[in-house]
């Protein structure tokens, strides 16, 4: 899985009312609140802030606002899948057009063209059933192993397209 530890910088704004002895804690808390769970550009999904690099930089007062801005450097654990990577995912929705699966925050779509042709879609049970082995079916909450074909990272969304068309991909027993 594509977990990485990266060093990132974030400008944290602090309200003047926090200018007291617990400023440091406030800073770190604000950083965590603002950063964790978001998608940051090419680095991917920030899972958690591991540590804030010391010493803390000096804040710069914003003119006219009274806010102080701290350019904090921190180490973060990020989740960043890559094209070609093989991931284990949980199926969230099975449709005629393919399977939607989830790996943590990442939504992956597996088109019906990327599903082996010996698996057919069954509308009634909303699942893909193997022609050969009837018990083998991909439905909601199944675990599948897939390869990521392409990734799209936006500020708001974090999606990928995948395939289970290769050897050793597909349903995980």
């Amino acid at each position: 899985m594509g977990f990485f530890q990266v060093e990132l910088t974030k400008n944290v704004r602090v309200h003047p009312r926090h200018f007291h002895s617990k400023l440091k804690e406030t800073l770190i808390q604000t950083l965590m609140d603002e950063v964790e769970g978001t998608v940051s550009g090419r680095f991917g999904f920030v899972v958690s802030v591991l540590e804030v690099l010391q010493p803390l930089p000096k804040g710069i007062l914003r003119e006219g606002f009274g806010f102080a801005v701290y350019p904090l450097k921190y180490k973060a654990l990020v989740f960043r899948p890559f094209k070609g990577e093989v991931l284990d995912a949980v199926v969230t929705n099975v449709t005629r057009h393919g399977i939607f699966a989830q790996v943590g925050p990442l939504t992956i779509f597996v088109s019906r063209h990327q599903i082996p042709s010996d698996m057919t879609h069954d509308e009634e049970t909303a699942s893909y059933i193997s022609v050969v082995e009837k018990a083998e079916r991909i439905q909601r909450d199944s675990a599948i192993r897939l390869r990521v074909n392409g990734i799209k990272i936006d500020a708001s969304s974090f999606t990928a397209v995948g395939t289970i068309l290769d050897d050793y991909l597909g349903l995980i027993e």
Partner: protein, 734 residues
Amino acid sequence: MGLCSCLFPITRRHCSSGDKYLLESWLVKTGDQVRPLQVLAVVQGPLEEAKAWKDDREPQSRTEPLCIQTEKKETMELVNLASSNLDFSVILKEYLPSGKDRTSTTAGGQQNTNYWGLRLSEKVTGKVDALVVNQNHVIQPQQMVLSVDVCDHKVQFNGNCALCGIEMDIYSASPILESPREFSTRTDWTLSNKHHLNPAYTHPQLRVSRNELELVEGENTRRLLRRKKLSLVLDLDNTLIHATLVSHFPQEWYQYKQEIYQQATEKALECSAPLMEDIHELDLDGSISLVKLRPNVRRFLEKIHQRYELHIYTMGSRSYADAIATLLDPSGNLFQRRIVSRDDFVEGMMNRKSLRRIFPCDDSMVIIVDDREDVWMDHNQGEMVPNLIRAKPYLFFVQDVHENMNNHLVWDSTTTSIHPSSESHKESFANISTCMLTCLNWKENLESGCYFPYLPWVQKTVESDENYLGRLEQLLIQIHESFFKEMEQCHNVSQTDDSNHVKLPLRDVKLILAEMRHRVLRNCYLSFTGIFRLEESPEVSTVWRLAEEFGAICNKQVTSQTTHLIVDSQRGLHTGKTKYALRRGDIFLVTLEWLETSMQYYIRASELQFALFSTSLSHSYGNDLEEYRKVIEKRHEQFVQNGLCPQKSPSKPSVKRRKMEYSSSEEDNTSTWIDSSSQNNQTKYHQSDDKTSPYHKEQDDHLELEWTASYLASELERELMNDPLCLSGGGESS
């Protein structure tokens, strides 16, 4: 390194190839007609195709067949170029100044001196389908070398092609469907072939090309046919349920509930059952709403489920839709995931529903049941969606309880001000709750279940709704049967089909529905009075259009054929048409409600029930309206058979003579006048020419008008005294 080239007309857009693949993105516009140009990539003789394309488009675009060369010669056999990140360089003959040769190092000089490289920014990715020539083959100019199965990106997920995985933004290949406006005309519809659509029940970010969608939907259609099912799209609010926010009636509900619980002996609960059952509280994001299921709704769904695949399409939010669906269908079998809410589409048109969102390709097997037709209206064409059955709106809770309360206050004690203070409000609440309790106690004594305790927040009309879903069920089953009967007939004719391939329907539910509609008011000749405003022309009004859709024949004037006069219960009482119709005696005077009910139930409603002057009609025929209707129907059959209108209008002298009769009989017996007039009608039919409708004459005859007005006024007064219910019943519809 050898050069591998292939003839390959290429656009700025993505293109597909392989063999005989229709390029979606190339459309030729000639005049008004837009047609996709079939461009075969990598087949013999693409020059002609490309030339055809060139003639229709601007000449400066790259219309010449292009060559694709690849630098990775050795991995040419069936390599997935998408995954190997292979770049094609595209060579364009036209652009070849010999000096600016960038890829000459890679192009094997001796093999093909005619082609020089020029790297363009476009990338083509795809699978190499077949390699035609051997590695050491000398390639002639314009000779096919390999065929590349280029991904046409027909499925895209959030800007990624789901087939090859590349990001689509660079190409901006498929303009995403932004507004349904694009579907306004037929040409636009063809144009939209190149758009990618969002299939229902997936993900708002998923876009699928039209061809692909048609393929998948076609598969679904076949599945439904095999299972002998149609699709049914149901609305929630006011169709299956009625919901209201608890904040609309604050303490009252809780008071009522508390008291029920306090006094809840088994009996008390039992007797409040018919009204109070299936009222549920929903807590959605902090606001609590009360939901009343329409009577028999569960039974209805269960029954209909055997013949229809059920969908929900609501304008409510996702969480609301899901919550209601769980209420209606706790097992989750009926709807599964076929629920559309306003959150499911990016292009949010809040006040409109479109069938294309669920059935983008084929709506010939879909029935919609909704209480509102305006949301389904195609605003560009102003036409009703032909799949729609307009359901009778289900209203259970009074919308604005406070207003209702105030009204009651005013009603009860005239001394109370129009805007009661909060004190009096509370009092009234207390009063009502005690009133409810007494009602409930009273109820215990009543054996029959038809009595409803008076509750101020419940609509008075709920009782009349009991049967509607039953009728709807009947209707839907009828449609289903007629559809599949037709199907089977088709199937018997063409026995050649194998079991796997079920023929796509020739039959269309839209036509079945239209036929059924047309049968409802067949042989009814309608005329209206007091309903349309003077400035609007009645032919374009909704009522008129609907009536004709339901098989009635509308006319502005009351003619000799007219069977029904739709009278507005307030404005239409003293119009010339009403007077004439009254005097004729064989015209049903009905309220607009009659028309409405007929349309909702898909059956001709009883004229007796919605008659405006039921007493005057019953006078003449002794309550035997059925017989009366038969007379009319028989007459119309004759009309149809003769093809002409045999009925002649009575001549003017006869009218005057009748006037004498009326005035003499007026005092002692009101019923005789219609009798005599109808007798006159029958006898005088053939005396005058058919062009002069008595109605026209009447307008000119001031004397006569005066007389009828005064007569009618007295007649009306008498009727009001005798039968106030009749008129007030009509008044509700206005």
